[in-house]
């Protein structure tokens, strides 16, 4: 197990390094940020001075080595647009994204697992049909459309929730539903099919014959055995939600990293694009690593040696 963990940690580092390299070169394909920074009337002297200040006058391989060396000590350079250290900008915006992601994840898991389990208990029943429609809507409706619809209905028409911005708990409701509905749909379907498989197994029949209550059969015996695929999907959803937050944050004016990333792309802010992508992918890779390791502890049949 230890060897496996070490191997996975090593592979995680390799992946992060590859992402770092890829984003460095991909960001530069978008064009020269100086085109957007400098005034049309700037002189060649102004251009040279600014290029030097930003380190863009160095050969690309030197820019790359400087960048890699910086990443190792947590120095992603200064944002070209805001003229502030990228890391400090991200640290200001990251909590908002994590807060939104966690709430959306909770919404997705709590509702997805509950509806999925209830659907599996009575296949083709009322809850199962409702769950199917709910999941189908979640999967098929674009996030930006759901967001705008929720704002118009619950914020503008009924004025129950605020339209946008970060603030109290009420501010979290609409963006969390918008972000979490898509993942909740797949969670509902996955829970349903996984539970149906387990509920059809001999040991479940045995627990029922023994006279255990249905609640105990479902919660204690069936659910635990149906958890592996649900856990896998749940961990993958963290990545989907972190990525999906870009749109949600823009619609709800949520001051998170997704919005920061969009703004940095539009202004060709290389250092900030790089920093945002590296930090997001590091979070994603770390969560995947933790989930892989957790498998071994949840399911005794899984042995990685």
């Amino acid at each position: 197990m230890q060897r496996y963990i070490l191997k996975r940690i090593f592979l995680a580092f390799v992946t992060i390094y590859l992402v770092t390299t890829l984003v460095f070169f991909l960001a530069r394909i978008t064009g020269d940020p100086m085109d957007l920074i400098m005034s049309a009337e700037s002189t060649q002297k102004d251009w040279d001075m600014m290029r030097h200040q930003l380190g863009l006058d160095k050969p690309i391989y030197l820019q790359y080595t400087d960048f890699i060396a910086g990443v190792f000590i947590g120095n992603f350079g200064n944002s070209l647009r805001w003229d502030k250290p990228c890391l400090s900008l991200i640290l200001v915006h990251l909590p908002a994204t994590l807060q939104l992601t966690i709430c959306a994840l909770l919404f997705s898991w709590v509702f997805g697992i509950s509806i999925g389990t209830l659907s599996a208990m009575r296949p083709n029943g009322l809850m199962d049909r409702f769950g199917k429609i709910f999941a189908m809507l979640g999967q098929s409706m674009p996030i930006f459309w759901v967001g705008i619809l929720l704002i118009l209905t619950f914020a503008v028409r009924w004025q129950i929730f605020p339209t946008s911005g970060r603030g109290g708990l009420l501010n979290l409701v609409l963006p969390s539903i918008t972000l979490g509905w898509y993942t909740m749909a797949s969670m509902t379907r996955m829970t349903r099919s996984s539970m149906l498989d387990v509920l059809d197994m001999e040991f479940i029949k045995m627990t029922r014959i023994k006279g255990l209550s249905e609640v105990l059969v479902i919660c204690k015996h069936a659910f635990k055995n149906a958890m592996i695929p649900i856990l896998t999907l749940g961990s993958l959803q963290v990545g989907i939600l972190l990525g999906g937050s870009v749109i949600t944050e823009t619609i709800f004016s949520w001051p998170g990293m997704g919005r920061l990333m969009v703004q940095s792309v539009f202004s060709r802010d290389f250092p900030l694009i790089q920093a945002c992508v590296i930090i997001t992918s590091t979070i994603f890779i770390t969560i995947n690593l933790l989930v892989d390791i957790t498998y071994g502890y949840i399911d005794p049949r899984i042995r990685y040696q």
Binding site: D35, E41, I151, L152, S164, S253, P255
Partner: protein, 516 residues
């Protein structure tokens, strides 16, 4: 007797003072005002580092320049600000500004000539300064005495006041004490609003500066918030979470605001003209159909501007018929009439120019200009001109225009219908030049020897306007109106009266007040 007089005197003073004090109490700043922007540029708090008009909204709310200018049309209206007056030498190369006494920065320290000299020397050193044109012509900035600052220029400049209005004055002592980096985080200026806090990419919060010499704001708190999504902006305005959408672009948002009884759409005059320039007219050796002015006239005649204003601008604009000169202004000769949409005449002109069946060309656009470009291309189809639309990303477009690498064709753009605009557009070699024409350049240079004002307008009217009208150096399309969505509980009469402060983006929120 004396006692009686004293009592009467005290009572009189009391009668006078009570209403005065209650009046001053009534303008005590109160409440919160939230204004929404699609973006605020680089959101810099440093007066020499803002890089777009949008970012000027922040710095010019916090700070005060030497002179303020207001736009109500047809020309810029300059008003004394930190400079109470100014003198210009006959050769337009020496500008002397007298600094107003009694202006304090937000920390209470008085503003002096040294602060002005310090700020402008920073401007001259910064590669990011937006007034590059100012920077490149200034030879020196120095304090003549404790109330006068002298700007010496390398070349005559009749438009220097505009340049003097682009930088807010910052305190020398405070900046030197805390350093430039700290200053850019916690700036102090002398404008009507004090800095409170900022979250990059999200909002800037300011507070009324009650010691302001020009205008104490009515609102206590001002929040400039960035909301890129139109539907979110509208939702915030409808629910009262925001008070103003600062720039309502033509589109569905306009009708939504018009149809809501709690909201108003306020259109403000602008000097901004949408126009088409022909990329080859700034490349003297390039062979192009656009070299023939009859072709340019034909293309201009084949555009139905009224339809464009009605359908694409929601009526928020007016057809333009002069390149860089405001229609119906003192700068336009009264004999000149609007361009009539005339396909027949356009076809005749094209035939005379040797293109009876039209020709093929390219129309270079960014994504936001697509609808307008498509409308124009379809109108030109009727005279046989096939315009292929090429969409480009904004950064790539800016680079191509700057380096003059766009192939032969037309580019949709915007420019300012002011004499300063003409100075940029009609002289050879500039970044914004639309045509290389010897006579036009000669006239423009002659115009620039006259200080901006009625005499200059008279010269433009009599000597230039008919020539420009006939030459069609660029194809004029629409004079835009800027529109703002405002909640009805905001009193805007004072705000509307002043026109637009500085360039368009500055909110001038000190002139807004809550309705009683």
């Amino acid at each position: 007797m004396n006692r009686r007089l004293t009592v009467i005197g005290v009572l009189l003073i009391a009668f006078l003072v009570v209403p005065l004090s209650s009046q001053s109490a009534s303008i005590k700043p109160t409440g919160k005002l939230t204004i929404l922007y699609s973006n605020l540029g680089n959101e810099s708090l440093d007066c020499v580092k803002w890089n777009t008009g949008q970012s000027e909204a922040i710095v010019m709310s916090l700070g005060e320049p030497l002179v303020n200018f207001y736009w109500k049309g047809p020309a810029l209206d300059f008003k004394p600000a930190i400079a109470s007056s100014w003198k210009i030498s006959p050769d337009l190369k020496t500008w002397e500004f007298t600094i107003r006494k009694g202006i304090n920065f937000h920390d209470g320290t008085p503003l002096t000539v040294q602060d002005v000299v310090f700020t402008w020397n920073r401007v001259l050193k910064s590669p990011l300064s937006i007034a590059v044109s100012a920077k490149n012509i200034i030879k020196s900035v120095e304090a003549l005495n404790d109330k006068t600052v002298l700007f010496q220029l390398n070349t005559p400049d009749p438009f220097f006041l505009y340049k003097a209005s682009t930088y807010a004055i910052q305190p020398k002592a405070y900046t030197e004490k805390v350093g430039e980096e700290e200053f850019s985080k916690k700036p102090i200026y002398a404008g009507p609003w004090k800095f409170v806090k900022q979250l990059q990419g999200d909002f800037v919060e300011m507070e009324a500066f009650e010691g302001h010499y020009r205008k104490v704001p009515y609102y206590k708190t001002l929040i400039l918030k960035i909301i890129p999504e139109d539907s979110t902006k509208l939702a915030m305005l409808k629910t009262g979470e925001a008070d103003i959408i600062f720039n309502v672009m033509p589109g569905p948002l306009v009708n939504e605001i018009r149809n809501d009884s709690n909201l108003r759409l306020i259109s403000v005059p602008s000097s901004n003209e949408t126009y088409l320039f022909m990329t080859s007219l700034v490349k003297p050796d390039k062979v192009s159909p656009f070299r023939d002015k009859r072709v340019r006239q034909a293309l201009s005649l084949a555009i139905d501007r009224k339809l464009i204003v009605e359908k694409l601008y929601n009526g928020l604009g007016s057809p333009s018929f002069m390149a860089a000169i405001m229609p119906y202004s003192p700068m336009m000769h009264p004999s000149l009439t609007p361009i009539r949409y005339d396909i027949k005449k356009a076809k005749t002109l094209l035939s005379e120019a040797g293109y009876p069946n039209g020709f093929e060309t390219e129309l270079f656009l960014t994504n936001t200009e697509k609808a307008e470009g498509e409308a124009i291309a379809s109108m030109w189809n009727k005279i046989g001109v096939k315009a292929k639309i090429t969409l480009m990303e904004m950064g790539a477009m800016l680079a191509a225009v700057r380096e003059k690498t766009l192939p032969d064709g037309l580019r949709l753009s915007h420019h300012s219908c002011t004499p300063a605009g003409m100075w940029y557009f009609f002289r050879k070699g500039g970044h914004y030049t639309v045509i290389y024409d010897d006579k036009l350049e000669e006239l423009t240079n002659k115009m620039a020897t006259i200080p901006e004002g009625p005499k200059m307008y008279e010269f433009i009217k009599n000597e230039m306007s008919r020539y420009v009208y006939d030459l069609v150096p660029s194809i004029p399309l629409v004079i835009q109106q800027y529109s703002r969505g405002v909640r009805k509980n905001i009193e805007t009469s004072e705000w509307e009266k002043i026109g637009t402060r500085s360039i368009f983006w500055v909110p001038a929120a000190e002139y807004l007040r809550p309705k009683k």
